[in-house]
C-alpha cells in the first residue's frame, strides 16, 4: 500500500506542477488559448465543474445515509464525509470560476442574483449546502457520543437530513440547468436531471469507496457491510445511468426526424467516439466487472477510481454534443473564425488547467484525511 501511495503522490506532484503552469497560462492569456468559443461556449472545465459538484452531492448523500444507518467505518467517519464533499464542491467551483470570462466578478452572483437563472439558483444552493456542511461539522465535533443521533443540540441529524435533500437537489438541478435551454434540442429533455443525479451518486460513492480502500480500518474487509453498500450503490447507479442513457439515445435515434438525432450520432460515431465507447462504456464496464468481483481492496479501489474518473465523460457527452449543432442552418459558414466553430477540441491549456483542478481536489481530500484521521503517505492510518 505504501508503495502505491508513494507512486500516487509522485503522480499528483507532477500533475499539480503541470497544473500550475496551466493556471499561469490561463491567468496571463485570459481565454485566448482555450478551445471553446461562441458557438460551443462551454468545454472541459464546465464538465469538470458539474462532475465536481455532482461528486459533492453524491459523497454527502451516500456517506450520510451510511452514517445515519450506522454502517461500520462511516458511522465514526462523518467528518471525512463532510470534508470530502466540501472538497469536491470547492474543486467544482474553482473549475467554473476559471471558466468565467470575468472571474473576479463571480461575487455578483450573490450581490445581484437573478433567481430566474438556474445558474444563480444553483450557486445559492451550493452556498447553503456548504453552510450546512460546516454546521454539521461543528455539531459533530461537539457531539457527546459517536453513535448517531449524537449532539446535544439535537440539530445534527435534522441538518444531515436537510443536507441529503440538498445533495439530491443540486446535482439534479445541474440537469435542469441544461434541460431549460430550449435552444438546444439535445438538452431539452426531462431525463437530464435523472442522468445527472445518477452520475453524481455513482461518482460520490466511488470517491468514498476509493477513500475507504486507503483507510484500512480493521473490522472492515471488502466483504464488510460498508464496502458492500458502497459497491452495490455504485453498481446500481452505473447500471441505472446506462439504462437512462440508452433511453435518451434510442428515442432520438428511433425517430427519423428527431432534432436530437445528430448529437447522438456525433456521440456514437463522431470524431470523439472513443470518449463514449472507450472511456465511458469501456471504463464503466471494466469498473463494473471489478466492483462485481470485489475480492480485494485493490480491485474495489481500481473500480471506484475508474468510475470517479471516467464518469466525467457523462458530463462531456451531454455538454459538447448539445452545443455542436446550430438551430440556424448555415450559421457556421456565414462568418468564419476559430471561435465561431461548432467543433470543440480542448486545448493544451485546458488540459493543463484540468490537471490543476483535479490535483487541487485530490490535495484537498488528502489534507482532510490527514487532519481528521492522521492518514499520511508514508505511514498509512494504522488498522483500527
Amino acid at each position: 500500500m505504501t508503495r502505491t501511495l508513494r507512486w500516487l503522490a509522485g503522480a499528483w506532484t507532477v500533475a499539480f506542477v503541470l497544473g500550475l503552469i496551466g493556471l499561469g497560462i490561463r491567468m496571463f492569456t485570459g481565454e485566448r488559448l482555450v478551445g471553446y468559443g461562441s458557438y460551443v461556449p462551454w468545454g472541459l472545465w464546465v464538465a469538470l465543474y458539474f462532475h465536481g459538484v455532482g461528486i459533492a452531492g453524491g459523497v454527502f448523500v451516500v456517506g450520510t445515509i451510511g452514517y445515519l444507518f450506522r454502517l461500520p467505518v462511516l458511522r465514526d467517519r462523518l467528518p471525512v464525509v463532510l470534508w470530502t464533499s466540501a472538497a469536491a464542491m470547492i474543486t467544482g467551483l474553482i473549475a467554473i470560476g476559471l471558466d468565467l470570462g470575468k472571474p473576479f466578478r463571480a461575487p455578483f452572483m450573490f450581490l445581484t442574483p437573478n433567481f430566474t437563472s438556474m445558474m444563480a439558483f444553483n450557486s445559492w444552493m451550493y452556498m447553503v449546502f456548504l453552510a450546512t456542511l460546516a454546521a454539521c461539522f461543528v455539531l459533530h465535533r461537539r457531539a457527546s457520543t459517536a453513535v448517531p443521533p449524537t449532539d446535544r443540540t439535537g440539530w445534527l441529524v435534522p441538518l444531515l437530513c436537510f443536507g441529503i435533500v440538498l445533495g439530491v437537489a443540486f446535482p439534479s438541478q445541474s440537469g435542469v440547468f441544461f434541460g431549460v435551454v430550449e435552444a438546444k434540442p439535445f438538452w431539452s429533455s426531462a431525463l437530464l436531471p435523472g442522468l445527472f443525479l445518477t452520475s453524481a451518486i455513482a461518482g460520490g460513492a466511488s470517491v468514498l469507496l476509493l477513500i475507504l480502500t486507503f483507510l484500512p480500518s480493521a473490522p472492515e474487509t471488502p466483504a464488510g457491510r460498508t464496502f458492500g453498500m458502497l459497491r452495490w450503490t455504485i453498481i446500481g447507479a452505473v447500471v441505472v445511468y446506462f439504462v437512462l442513457e440508452f433511453g435518451k439515445m434510442s428515442i432520438a435515434l428511433w425517430s427519423p426526424a428527431s432534432h436530437a438525432r445528430e448529437p447522438v450520432e456525433l456521440i456514437l460515431a463522431g470524431p470523439f467516439w472513443w470518449v463514449f465507447w472507450i472511456v465511458h462504456v469501456g471504463g464503466g464496464l471494466l469498473a463494473l466487472a471489478l466492483l462485481w468481483q470485489g475480492r480485494s481492496r485493490a480491485m474495489l479501489g481500481t473500480g471506484a477510481f475508474l468510475i470517479a474518473l471516467t464518469f466525467v465523460a457523462t458530463r462531456l457527452n451531454v455538454l459538447i454534443p448539445g452545443q455542436s449543432f446550430s438551430e440556424l442552418k448555415g450559421l457556421a459558414a456565414a462568418f468564419s473564425h476559430p471561435k465561431l466553430s461548432f467543433h470543440y477540441q480542448a486545448t493544451v491549456t485546458e488540459y493543463l488547467v484540468a490537471l490543476f483542478i483535479g490535483s487541487v481536489g485530490v490535495g484537498l481530500v488528502y489534507v482532510g484525511l490527514r487532519l481528521l484521521t492522521g492518514f499520511t503517505i508514508t505511514h498509512p492510518e494504522k488498522a483500527r
Partner: protein
C-alpha cells in the same frame, strides 16, 4: 474525532433511529428552504427588467434635417431617418423598434456585417450580423437567398432569464441589452439564444502574432453610449456581446449602421408603434417569415421572402 471503541456493539445492527423530533426539524428545514426558493424565484420573475431610463428622461429632441427633402420620392433612408426623430421624441415605453429584411433585395454583399464590425469595433471572433446563405432547388433550377441575422430582439428572449446576475434585460423599446459592467462572462445567455446571436469577446486582436499592435485596435467603442476600452482585459473583453440595433446611434438620431450601409435598401428599420412608419408598412406585408418562430421567442426582426 471519536474512536470506534466508544460505539456500543449493538449499534452495528440497530440501524437508524430517527426520532419524531428529528423528523419534524428536518421537515421544517426543508420547508423553509423550499419556501425561500419558490419565493425568490417568484420575486425574480415578477421584476420588470433592468434600469433603463423611462418616461421624460428617455425623450430626445433631435434636430430635423431640413436641407434634405422627405417627399414621396425620397430614399427610404431619408424617410427612416425622419421617422426615427419622431420616435425618439416619444418616451421609451411608446416606441417599439423593429426591423424588416427584404431577402428579395439583399444581394449578399456583407456590407452590413463589415459596417457593424467597424461601428462597434468588433474584435476577431465577435460578429453581430453575419449573413447566412440559403441555396434551394435542384440544378439547373437553383436559387440562392441571403438572411442577414442581427439579434432578433425577441419579445420572449430566452437569453434574459438565464443570466445569473441580471446583466442583460429587455428595454421597454424592445431592445435587449447587456451591461458590460455587470456581465461575469458565464456564457449561459450565449447557449440560450437559438439564433447564435450572442458571441463572447475572448480578448483577441487582429494583430495578434504580428510584430506590432495597430492604433485602431486600441480605439474605444461606444456601445450603449459609453466609452469602452478593451486594453488590459477591460470590458467588453470576457463579456457576452450582441447586436443592440446601434442604440448609441439611435440616441443621437442616426439609423443603425447596418441599415445606413445596406446598398440594396433591403433593411428597413423603425418604430412599429407608429402605424405610418415605413417599417410598419413592411410589417403589414403577407410574405413574411420569422426565423425559428417555433421556439416561441417572438422575434422583432422579420424577413420578407
Amino acid at each position: 474525532m471519536r474512536s470506534g471503541a466508544e460505539i456500543p456493539p449493538e449499534a452495528e445492527t440497530t440501524g437508524v433511529e430517527l426520532s419524531r423530533r428529528d423528523l419534524i426539524r428536518a421537515a421544517a428545514l426543508t420547508a423553509v428552504g423550499a419556501v425561500a426558493g419558490v419565493g425568490t424565484v417568484a420575486v425574480s420573475r415578477s421584476s420588470d427588467g433592468g434600469p433603463s431610463p423611462r418616461g421624460a428622461d428617455s425623450v430626445r429632441r433631435l434636430p430635423v434635417l431640413e436641407t434634405v427633402p422627405n417627399d414621396a420620392g425620397a430614399d427610404p433612408l431619408i424617410r427612416m431617418q425622419a421617422e426615427l426623430r419622431l420616435a425618439m421624441a416619444k418616451p421609451i415605453e411608446e416606441r417599439r423598434w423593429s426591423m424588416v429584411i427584404d431577402t428579395r433585395k439583399c444581394v449578399g454583399c456583407h456590407a452590413c456585417t463589415v459596417a457593424c464590425i467597424a461601428e462597434n469595433k468588433l474584435p476577431p471572433g465577435v460578429v453581430y450580423r453575419p449573413v447566412l446563405e440559403e441555396e434551394f432547388g435542384v440544378f439547373p433550377n437553383v436559387q440562392r437567398r441571403f438572411f442577414p441575422r442581427p439579434c432578433m430582439q425577441c419579445d420572449e428572449p430566452p437569453c434574459v432569464p438565464v443570466c445569473p446576475v441580471s446583466a442583460t434585460w429587455k428595454r421597454p423599446d424592445g431592445i435587449t441589452i447587456i451591461d458590460y459592467d455587470k456581465c461575469i462572462g458565464c456564457r449561459y445567455c450565449i447557449s440560450a439564444c437559438p439564433y447564435g446571436a450572442r458571441t463572447s469577446d475572448f480578448g483577441l486582436n487582429y494583430t495578434d502574432d504580428t510584430p506590432e499592435a495597430q492604433p485602431y485596435e486600441s480605439l474605444p467603442n461606444h456601445e450603449y453610449g459609453k466609452s469602452w476600452s478593451r486594453e488590459d482585459h477591460g470590458s467588453p473583453v470576457g463579456n457576452a456581446r450582441k447586436c443592440h440595433f446601434c442604440l448609441h446611434r439611435l440616441e443621437v438620431g442616426l439609423l443603425p449602421q447596418c441599415v445606413s450601409t445596406c446598398i440594396g435598401r433591403a433593411t428597413i428599420f423603425g418604430d412599429s408603434n407608429d402605424p405610418d412608419s415605413l417599417v410598419s408598412e413592411q410589417l403589414r406585408q403577407p410574405n413574411q417569415l420569422k426565423l425559428l418562430e417555433e421556439k416561441g421567442t417572438k422575434p422583432n426582426v422579420v424577413y420578407l421572402v
